[in-house]
């Protein structure tokens, strides 16, 4: 089977394959253009008569659970990244698959982390055919050099849910590592040594996968409350000694950036939002977890306090900073998609206004709306932005896969999307003539804020008008690009082959760009 075939040019002018790993895919057609019809994918009918009356679904080992789930060649295995770099389960799954001689698996993680470098051997020997999910660090390098047997597919968190819902990806076995679970399979992320806050990334998998295995190191008697994952979807429960490494799951010390340059960017971003009238009593924003984004959130808090206003909700990535705003009454709700520190987890446990969300409520493309579009201000990073405001978040300027998409594409649907980014990083200018990989079309990005000036997308005439007399350093994106190049020089293009190693999906499941193989020096 060819990895890919039938290349066409899509609506953003990029060449993308329409046959990927033997299956048909649709090229990107424009934002909001592709609306598939028909019915959603449905999992097999199950009967409670097949499950023990006492509700005890416990199995002795993960291996046994995988065998009982019918693990075999060519299956799709899903895992989730709520343990981030402290995950201990994904590696074990494929150790077992390798031991059983199973081949050609599709690994469908919600994200991969450097701790999964261990899996490179299985990508090499054919146990795993391909990753459909983010590929960072060593896995990104491996994929970028064209060494993966199948073609990689990168999706956003919302896109992952979309692919599950419309049947583009049919999960055979979902393995949900849980900080706390009961023998029936109810599970949550707020209690236990490996507490990570919430399990939202696994929700869709629990509902749609053929077999669902919950693995925990904190087995409690029924009922495990809150039941973020419902045991009614779960086939087997496995108790292990340790599901994750707590110190790598959450940080005890999320900190606002100390870098004066990043603080300056944060300050300018907050000033811009204030001048443009984007902050008001009842507004909402997306709080990132990076140092700059945290600092912006703090400035937003100052502006709210100064005016005696309240934010209606923060969409987070929660940690101690949004929690403080919540507990001080400056913010009414935190709609949390991912919890980053111990304070966030404590708050999730204690505060009724700290809400556990999933890609279903926040990002779902096949839902009847979602709240991503209701957020007033969205603050996001990017590895590159081009002069047409197209943005890249997955590849480094040298062509290597560097980050996953995460919720990045989904949150772009907020009312105003702002990218606070340094104009250059270690001599590498961020604003380019053309981004290496298009992860979002320029129409989705409203403002780029750098330490040397602010560029507003010409489509946002309202923002241009509102800030024209603000005294803020408003420049064109071409001016910013020229400024960076005057300091750094004009970079060469990365050394890429024509060969495609992965594709990037838009939130609707269409293919927005291809990632090419990097030619090593």
């Amino acid at each position: 089977m060819k990895k890919y075939d039938k290349i066409v040019t899509n609506a953003v002018g990029r060449e993308v394959p329409t046959i990927i790993n033997g299956e048909e895919h649709i090229p990107f057609q424009g934002v909001g253009k592709y609306k598939p019809t028909g019915r959603k994918f449905a999992p097999r009918i199950s009967s409670c008569a097949d499950f023990p009356d006492d509700g005890n679904k416990q199995i002795n080992s993960l291996k046994e659970a995988l065998i009982k789930s019918g693990l075999k060649d060519g299956m799709t295995i899903s895992t989730h990244h709520h343990f981030r770099n402290g995950d201990l389960i994904a590696n074990q799954i494929f150790d077992i698959a390798h031991e059983l001689g199973v081949k050609n698996l599709r690994w469908y993680p919600s994200a991969s982390f450097p701790c999964q470098e261990h899996l490179i051997q299985y990508l090499e020997d054919g146990t795993i055919n391909r990753i459909e999910g983010s590929m960072n660090g060593p896995l990104g390098r491996f994929a970028s050099l064209g060494k993966m047997k199948g073609l990689g597919i990168l999706r956003s968190h919302g896109g992952r849910y979309q692919a599950i819902q419309d049947g583009e990806v049919q999960i055979d076995i979902a393995v949900i590592a849980a900080p706390t679970a009961d023998p029936f399979g109810n599970a949550n992320g707020v209690n236990g040594d490996a507490a990570c806050g919430l399990l939202g990334f696994a929700l869709g998998d629990s509902e749609y996968a053929d077999k669902v295995i919950v693995v925990t190191d904190n087995l409690v008697p029924f009922p495990a409350i809150p039941w973020q994952i419902h045991g009614n979807y779960v086939d087997y429960v496995v108790k292990v000694d340790k599901v994750g490494l707590p110190e790598k799951i959450v940080s005890g010390t999320t900190q606002i950036t100390k870098s004066p340059d990043r603080l300056l960017i944060a300050e300018i971003t907050a000033q811009f939002c204030e001048e443009a009238g984007l902050i008001y009593d009842g507004f909402s924003y997306q709080a990132g977890a990076g140092g700059t984004a945290l600092s912006i959130g703090n400035y937003f808090g100052d502006i709210l306090r100064k005016n005696n206003w309240k934010a209606s909700f923060i969409r987070a990535g929660s940690n101690k900073y949004p929690v403080k705003l919540l507990e001080d009454g400056i913010v009414k709700y935190i709609l949390d998609g991912q919890t980053f520190d111990l304070e966030g987890i404590r708050s999730m446990r204690e505060n009724p206004g700290h809400i556990n969300t999933s890609p279903f409520t926040s990002y779902n493309y096949h839902g009847k709306g979602n709240f991503a579009a209701m957020v007033d201000i969205v603050v996001l990073g990017a590895t590159e932005v081009d002069v047409n405001f197209n943005a890249n978040v997955v590849t480094h300027s040298d062509g290597y896969l560097l980050h996953g998409i995460g919720g990045w594409q989904n949150t772009l649907f907020g009312k105003t999307t702002i990218m606070p980014i340094p104009l250059f990083r270690d001599r590498i200018p961020v604003i380019r003539d053309e981004v290496t990989t298009i992860c979002a079309p320029g129409e989705m990005i409203d403002v780029v804020v750098t330490e040397r000036g602010i560029a507003i997308n010409p489509l946002r005439k309202d923002l241009i008008e509102k800030t024209k007399d603000s005294g803020l350093p408003i420049k064109t994106i071409q001016e910013l690009k020229a400024e960076a190049e005057a300091i750094c020089g004009v970079p060469e293009k990365p050394n890429l082959s024509d060969e495609i190693i992965a594709v990037i999906k838009w939130v609707d499941g269409t293919v927005i760009d291809s990632v090419r193989k990097v030619i090593e020096d």
């Binding site: 300027s397 270690d426 001599r427 330490e451 020096d521």
Partner: protein, 404 residues
Amino acid sequence: MASKIGTAGNKGKGIKSDCYVEFEPKPSGGIEIEIKSKVKTLFGKAIKELAEKVLLHFEIKNVKLIIEDTGAVDFVLAARIEAAIKQTIETDKEFLLPQLEGNTNSTSKETFRFSRLYLPGNSPKLMLNAGIHKPNGLILDLEDAVAPTKKFEASFVVRNALRNLNFYGAERMVRINQGQKGIEDLAFIVPHNVNLILIPKAESAEDILAVNKEIERLKKVYNLNYNIWLMPIVESAKGVIKAYEIATASNNIAAMAIGLEDYTADLGTQRTTEGTESFFARSMVVNASRAAGIQPIDSVFSDVGNMVALAENVQKSKGLGFDGMGCIHPRQIEVIHKNFAPKEKEIEKAKKIFLAFKDAEAKGLGVVSLGSKMIDAPVVKRAQNTIRTAINTGKLDKNWVENN
């Protein structure tokens, strides 16, 4: 300097926007350049071309050159390569990139010097973004912030930075070394449009005159006609006693600063937050500077994490009569500007006096009066100063008279 391999620059953990260069002259074999760089894909070719240009300039034909780069820009790369070359061969040549447009402007004696940010002369990573924090002056430091073994290579970085670093409107300042080494530093900075030179540990008029003598010599050699201002730093008991002598040593002295770390050490005491131990010295510097008609500038505040204490310190400093203060972290700049800036009430009063003066002038009146009060000349002068300061610190629009 005649070692077999010349080296310059920094490498290792935490080093960014810099490079480490090894230069090994060979008897034969041509030019071999090895580049290890994290930006090799995007700038590898540019780095190689620049290295070849530098080698050609110094007529080097056989060499092994290793560049370990962490994203250095051209002027840093060139400085490192030149410093490495000059450790192994004697030459009077210099490799200079075309000077940045805008790095040739002059400043005046009265230029505002509320804040001046120290930048270690051998740490390029701190330089590129320093100006965007809008200090009144940026000091490229050749003295205490550079390790003794790095002084030689730092001179090239500082020279190139004066020419090619964007200062974003900040005054281009250099702190030279003490004594004879400081005199030698001048050849690296005087021909390259430095605006102001800080002379550390000044203790007598002779210290100033020795610097000026070399500046004058260099100005003749290079046929330069721009002003170079001096800011002596008084950092010892003796310097404080001689403050007036130092302040009046020459007419290109624009300001005089006090350095309290060394001064308190010299007194045999500790520096405290309330600063009782330095009250006399600070007052001496203010008094001597005012008597000499130059700006008195306060010492740096070293607790970079404590902005509240900094603000209090600045207000105290302003109260003592200082016109500015040093900073060692960009986040201190705004606090310094805000607290040196005149208060709303001061500005409102100054505006009234200023307008009354203009009015009197327009009517050809010799006496200025506000309401029933007569206003003396020094009051008018102070009001004018307040207005100037308010405009400069962004507290007052520069077209306020028209918009009034």
